[in-house]
Amino acid sequence: MAYFAQQSVNAISLGFLYALIGLGYTMVYGVLTMINFAHGDLFMLGAFVCLLLVTFSPVALPFPVLLVLVMAIIGGLGVLIERLAYRPLRQAPRVSAVITALGCGLVISNVTLSISPYSRAMPEVFDDRYFNVLGVGVSLLQLLIIGVSLALMVGLDVLIYRTRFGMALRAVAFDAKTVPLMGISVNRIISLTFLIGTGLGGAAGMLYGMAFPVISASMGVLVGWKAFIAAVIGGIGNIRGAVLGGFILGTVEIFSVAMLPSTYRDLISYSLLLVILIFKPYGILGRAPNVKV
């Protein structure tokens, strides 16, 4: 029972991380109906930027400052990629944009790989402590991951459903052709979406690096794309679906590793993706688009 409870705690903290990364995929998909394959690699870069900041900063940066800096840098990079690579292709066939995104992701991960061919150890950002709650070990780090993710998600939900920017964003997702007629700058909304979405991915990268302190260039494919599975399971384009999918995937992974050899983990996650795509292609909370002729 204690073992089960322990695994549940691990599943929840992994689920939050997947959800946080998945939000970036789903926001971009919601607004541009395009899969941002580079998102996983920006997530990986989040961990590396954190490593660089901790290593080269003259003063020890406290955790909140570090988090904001990482989010700003990765978010800025996301906006830059959108500006240079995705915006010129907005009128092109959708496939071109997907290929470009895949290419951008590979460029980012392989530049990182060429500069840092080996895995790196993440330095400790703060002193970790362990608590014992009813026989279940919970670390301060896990609480922090859950707390920060929860705060970011609630913030995002408020931003999207309660503010004027959020209304504009939902309007662009609903009908990008009519929105400019209402005096809303579509380009600015899309830039802001990329800033927020990839910023959340960067934050997730930093938290992931702290939780599993060996980071490498292949993290984007190994972990980032998993989060993408989470977003698809929940229904891509749907913010709450990404969170739900993150938890489902986190639970499935933690318990499959607990019960089967750990090499089966990827096999199970990707098979889950395949099954969901075949039987419920628009995810649990997603709706099938109406194709008009």
Binding site: T263, L273, I278
Partner: protein, 327 residues
């Protein structure tokens, strides 16, 4: 200038040059193989080029003619490579005569799996189909890593060196010939119609489901054939070598040479093979340059060099005469 242009048109429309070139090429391959005319490096590059032509033309069927985006071609390669290698190393070792059936078997295994995948996913299009192929690629890789019988993550070593110049050349010719005949048949028109507008094609009575599934199966068959040839060229395969980067390499070839064009596929594969040999000294930076080329291609020339055009040599005769009549 005008006379040069007219000469080029006459050469391009001449029907006996291509067969002649093929016979000369085959003769050269046989002579080089038996007479040892080429050093082992040149031979290696030429065989790689042939394998790449097969890969590029077969992926072009799905990504170019059908207009879908598959990133799972390396998965079909892996299936073909493992199936053929199992046949030549475990089932019938020391029997080089069975290499051609082994290649066919590799292609068949890939085609059956490709058929099942297409059958299950035919409702999805665009991004979602890309995802399914991505999931398929990851599943093949992890499944192979978890089967100790085929070597697990360490891979399969000791595959006999059976891929020769004439066999690779012949396989490439057969691939191009089959795909060319498919593309200019009734089936091929259905495939192109799906690319242009699936709903319109469907309402005109085109059997879109059959056309898509057949295109996917044929494409995976030749992906498997290429994998089988590659396995018997480099004599060692492991699941890690059939990853997303391998798929990206094939994508670069397709979109460099030109979508929906067989001449483009050959051109893309040849340029890509030479380019990656030139870039060999750059180490991992090579894997930065290749995706970068892909991105720049998408931004500045999304259809590639030959995009949707075809060299008249590859056109069937009736196609050529019908084109000439146009004003």
């Amino acid at each position: 200038m005008e006379s040069v242009r007219r000469f080029c048109v006459r050469v391009a429309e001449c029907r006996w040059i291509l067969p002649l070139l093929l016979v000369i090429g085959m003769g050269f391959c046989v002579a080089a193989e038996s007479g040892g005319l080429l050093n082992s490096y040149t031979r290696f590059v030429l065989i790689t080029m042939g394998v790449n032509i097969i890969l590029c033309a077969s992926l072009n069927l799905v990504n170019g003619y059908l207009g879908e985006f598959s990133v799972g071609h390396a998965g079909f390669m892996a299936l073909g490579a493992y199936a053929a290698a199992m046949m030549t190393t475990r089932l019938f070792p020391q029997m080089p005569a069975l290499f051609l059936p082994a290649i066919f078997f590799g292609g068949l295994v890939a085609a059956v799996i490709g058929f099942l995948l297409a059958l299950l996913s035919f409702k999805t299009r665009g991004d979602y189909l890309a995802l399914i192929t991505l999931a398929f690629l990851m599943i093949v890789k992890s499944a192979l890593e978890n089967i100790p019988w085929v070597g697990g993550p360490r891979g399969l070593a000791g595959i006999p060196t059976l891929s020769s110049l004439p066999i690779t050349f012949g396989a490439a010719i057969v691939t191009l010939w089959v795909i060319r005949n498919l593309v200019f048949s009734k089936f091929g028109r259905a495939v192109v119609a799906i690319r242009e507008d699936e709903i319109a094609a469907n309402s005109m009575g085109v059997r879109t489901r059959e056309a898509k599934i057949l295109a996917f199966s044929v494409s995976s068959f030749f992906g498997g054939v290429a994998g089988a040839l590659l396995a018997h060229q480099i004599t060692f395969i492991n699941p890690g070598s059939f990853d997303i980067l391998k798929s990206t390499e094939i994508l670069v070839m397709v979109y460099l040479g030109g979508i929906g064009s067989l001449a483009g596929s050959v051109l893309g594969a040849v340029i890509f093979t030479l380019l990656s040999e030139v870039l060999r000294d750059f180490g991992t930076w090579r894997m930065v340059i290749l995706p970068l080329i892909l991105v720049l291609l998408m931004l500045f020339r999304p259809r590639g060099i030959m995009g949707l055009r075809e060299l008249p040599w590859f056109l069937p005769r009736r196609e050529l005469t019908s084109r000439r009549k146009k004003p």
